[in-house]
């Protein structure tokens, strides 16, 4: 047929126009990059505002452009990280490449790198089926109990290792329970939502439980040390260790857990009150794995030793050193191959956090963070610029930002500002730091809010609107719990 015989030659003719077409395609795909650059240029050409230095304005311009690129992702995020590094060197007169390179590597960054490697090492041990067995043995077959079990186990694990690891391990457990209940997704919409959100929100509320629960915690600990610790006894309180963090934050996680389950059941109303058939079949499937092997026990032991290292030695050695030690131990014992770590770790994330922290330090050094903090407090209505009003304002600001970008990046960007706000308002930098770090977990509204949300969405059972439907209730609940702790519990423990 003529239609088909002419196709090849037409294709070659059209190839000539491909480049032109691609230019239009490129412009459309990169429109946010173009927008960010135009905004950056306009801000750069604008006069320096009162109270801000030229260097401070330049850092703010870089920050604004970086935030637009973080949110819209017109270029790969690691490229944004390198753009931040290059912009600092080229645009800041008093900063050279050596200083920027030094600011890129801190204990927080080592911790992020180590914990990502630990996450891959743990997933490679295939302990998820053991976990599934543990949950169904513990909970029985009642849907409510299974959801509580999933949220609790997800939370307990996500409080010590990265939430994406936990969500990745727990996702198959939930999907198996859903599919064994019904093959038709429409018949298990509510059940699927409850089980999957139990994982995502279980992980989200628990990630603030300990310093190793997420990059944001390590970043905040790094900022306290960088900004307020001067090597003397008077400022030693700003060297926050593992146990001190747990005392402040773990109860916040535990207090939210029953509310999470209540909100999920009220919002989605699962179709099945009991999961007898699914649980029995899951047990049978899991029991085929046989008993634990010696390598499984060694893997668990290495992880517990790492955890003990964080608890007892992190103030001397740093969280990052211990995380790296744990990852290296897995490799030395042959429990994970470097090739697996290399392909499993998203190294771009490490660079992104490194660049964001480096920019955060420049914000503080150039006075930009202080200027933004003063301006923010200046526009707050009376009563909101100190005490509980300020806590609520900072929490709301962080919640908005964290729903548009990763929580670690949100803390890296907002941390210097909120800590300076504390100084300006005469509040404790520790309290506002904790509020910023904890509020960064309230990314319940969007699929991209947290890795755990993205992972459960990848199951194909949830709609993007489900996140909004339940997310706003979660935001209100978590904010109220956080403010209650800031008002009553933290003062009681001497914070």
């Amino acid at each position: 047929m003529a239609l088909f015989t002419t196709r090849r030659s037409r294709r070659f003719r059209l190839r000539g126009t491909r480049n032109l077409r691609s230019a239009g395609y490129f412009l459309r795909e990169k429109r946010w990059l173009i927008f960010a650059m135009i905004v950056g240029m306009l801000l750069y050409m604008a006069p320096v505002p009162d109270g801000l230095t030229y260097a401070g304005k330049t850092v703010l311009v870089i920050s604004v452009v970086a935030v637009i690129l973080f949110v819209t992702e017109p270029v790969p995020l690691p490229a944004v990280a390198f753009m931040i590094v290059i912009a600092q060197i080229l645009m800041l007169k008093d900063v050279d490449s050596k200083q920027v390179a030094e600011s890129l590597m801190s204990d927080s960054v080592l911790f992020i790198m180590g914990s990502l490697m630990l996450a891959v090492a743990i997933v490679k041990q295939k302990l998820d089926k053991r976990l599934a067995y543990l949950i169904v043995r513990m909970t029985g077959t009642k849907t409510l109990n299974v959801a509580v079990g999933i949220a609790l186990v997800s939370g307990l694990m996500a409080s010590v290792i990265g939430e994406h690891t936990v969500a990745a391990m727990m996702l198959p457990v939930a999907i198996i329970l859903i599919t064994l209940t019904s093959e038709d997704p429409k018949k298990v919409r509510g059940l699927a939502a409850v089980l999957l959100f139990s994982i995502a929100y279980g992980c989200s509320i628990a990630g603030i439980g300990t310093p190793s629960g997420g990059a944001r915690n390590a970043i905040m600990i790094g900022y306290w040390k960088e900004f307020f610790y001067h090597g003397d006894e008077a400022t030693k309180q700003y060297l926050v260790d593992y146990v001190s963090w747990i005392k402040v934050c773990y109860p916040v996680f535990l207090a939210q857990l029953p509310f999470v389950i209540g909100i999920l059941f009220m919002t989605f109303k699962p179709e099945y009150k009991h999961l007898n058939r699914a649980v029995v079949r899951l047990r049978t499937q899991v029991e085929k794995e046989g008993s634990m092997k010696s390598s499984d026990w060694i893997a668990i032991l290495v992880f517990f030793l790492t955890l003990l290292g964080w608890i007892f030695y992190s103030s001397e050695l740093g969280l990052g050193t211990i995380a790296l030690l744990g990852a290296v131990t897995y490799m030395v014992l042959g429990l994970v191959r470097w090739e697996d770590l290399n392909s499993g770790v998203n190294w771009g994330v490490v660079w992104l956090y490194a660049a964001a922290i480096s920019l955060g330090i420049q914000m503080k050094d150039s006075g930009a963070a202080l200027w933004v903090a003063d301006s923010f407090i200046g526009i707050l209505p009376s009563g909101m610029d100190s005490g509980i009003g300020l806590y609520a304002s900072v929490s709301a600001l962080t919640t908005i930002v964290t729903n548009t970008m990763s929580n670690g990046a949100a803390v890296a960007v907002l941390g210097p500002i909120s800590l300076n706000m504390a100084t300006t308002a005469g509040e404790s930098p520790l309290i506002l730091g904790y509020i910023t770090a904890i509020s960064s977990a309230f990314a319940y509204l969007t699929v991209i809010g947290t890795p755990a949300c993205t992972i459960v969405y990848a199951s194909g059972y949830l709609k993007t609107t489900d996140f909004l439907k339940v997310g706003w209730k979660m935001v209100i609940m978590s904010t109220l719990v956080l403010l209650a702790f800031a008002m009553f519990y933290w003062p009681a423990i001497g914070l």
Binding site: L3, R7, R11, T17, V123, H164, L352, M405
Partner: protein, 321 residues
């Protein structure tokens, strides 16, 4: 540009499919994409057509680390990835419609792509007549890039995308207007945007210049595959241009009838071309347009009749190249 996927299989497929009519149907699990598939079967009836079902899952980029890990875990547990569930549902629809004859041979392939160990998955079904169904679950930076990659790597005579609703409004399913616009703009071949597509209402072919007359000939051949009646329509922007519109109709009729296809009826009208075409076209299965003459950088700033119709039409639109 990504490296060739399923390279060995593609070579074999190309060899096998050089004289066959290859249809690519983009599946997103929506009701619209299943209707689009039904239309593909109608066009592909006979034993000389192969259908490829494509589901693109976006690459886990940026801070979404962990999704790849989760997917790997799902595969290890024997759980099917969401895209494969949608593809299998579409495959079952093809079986029900009798696209494959009797017994078939099944083959599975998996390839790492974009550093994702789960990567791309392909399942092929071949019957004794050599008719193929391929199910492709591909990974790509975004859905549009995945579809364009697939069309670049394998030659398809027709690509079908299905979308619910006009323009950017009321779009259900995973294939949104942005994806459709990018695919149609960048594609080298013929694309059918199936929108609430209904069979048996015929193709309304819009003509105005030589390029559109060649497109009319191509679509007439396509329409003859599914015994769809063919109608011609030409719009003049002013009364003065009406003779040219009438001439275009005559030329198109001659070319189509020379190809052995009957033109059921034809009309000319005066007014805004996009509006007139959308208004008249809503009673037909498909509105057929030639590719836009607006290219490259200009397309970024300037629209064209074809793209206005594509965006605002109530029903399906085919852009012929």
């Amino acid at each position: 540009m990504r490296t060739a996927l399923f390279e060995d299989e593609n070579d074999a497929t190309k060899e096998h499919g050089s004289n066959r009519f290859n249809i690519l149907v983009c599946i997103d699990g929506s009701k619209e994409s299943r209707r689009g598939l039904k239309y593909a079967v109608k066009i592909g009836q006979g034993s000389d057509a192969d259908i490829t079902l494509l589901y693109v899952r976006p690459l886990d980029k940026g801070m979404k680390s962990g999704v790849g890990l989760a997917r790997q875990n799902m595969v290890d547990w024997g759980i099917e990835l969401p895209g494969m569930r949608a593809l299998k549902k579409a495959r079952d629809q093809l079986f029900e419609l009798g696209f494959l004859d009797g017994d078939w041979k099944e083959e599975d392939t998996r390839k790492r792509a974009y550093g994702d160990p789960v990567g791309d998955t392909m399942k092929t079904y071949t019957d004794k007549n050599g008719t193929h169904i391929a199910l492709k679950l591909m990974i790509a930076p975004n859905v549009a890039a995945g579809i364009l990659d697939e069309c670049e790597l394998n030659e398809y005579d027709l690509t079908i995308l299905a979308m619910h609703g006009r323009g950017a409004a009321n779009v259900r399913g995973k294939i949104k207007w942005k994806t459709t616009r990018t695919v149609v703009t960048e594609h080298h071949g013929t694309v059918l945007l199936a929108r609430e597509i209904e069979e048996n209402h015929g193709h309304l072919i819009c003509v105005n210049d030589d390029k559109s007359i060649e497109a009319a000939r191509q679509d007439a051949i396509l329409a003859s595959r599914c015994q769809c009646p063919v109608y011609l329509f030409s719009v003049a922007e002013t009364e003065e241009q009406l003779p040219q519109a009438k001439e275009a109709i005559v030329k198109a009729r001659n070319v189509i009838e020379a190809a052995g296809v009957e033109v059921v009826d034809s009309w000319t009208d005066v007014g805004n071309p996009a509006e007139m075409i959308i208004k008249r076209g809503k009673d037909y299965s498909v509105i057929v347009m030639a590719d836009s003459s607006v290219k490259g950088f200009r397309r970024f700033f300037q629209s064209s009749v074809a793209y206005d119709v594509l965006q605002h039409a109530y029903n399906s639109v085919m852009i012929i190249r």
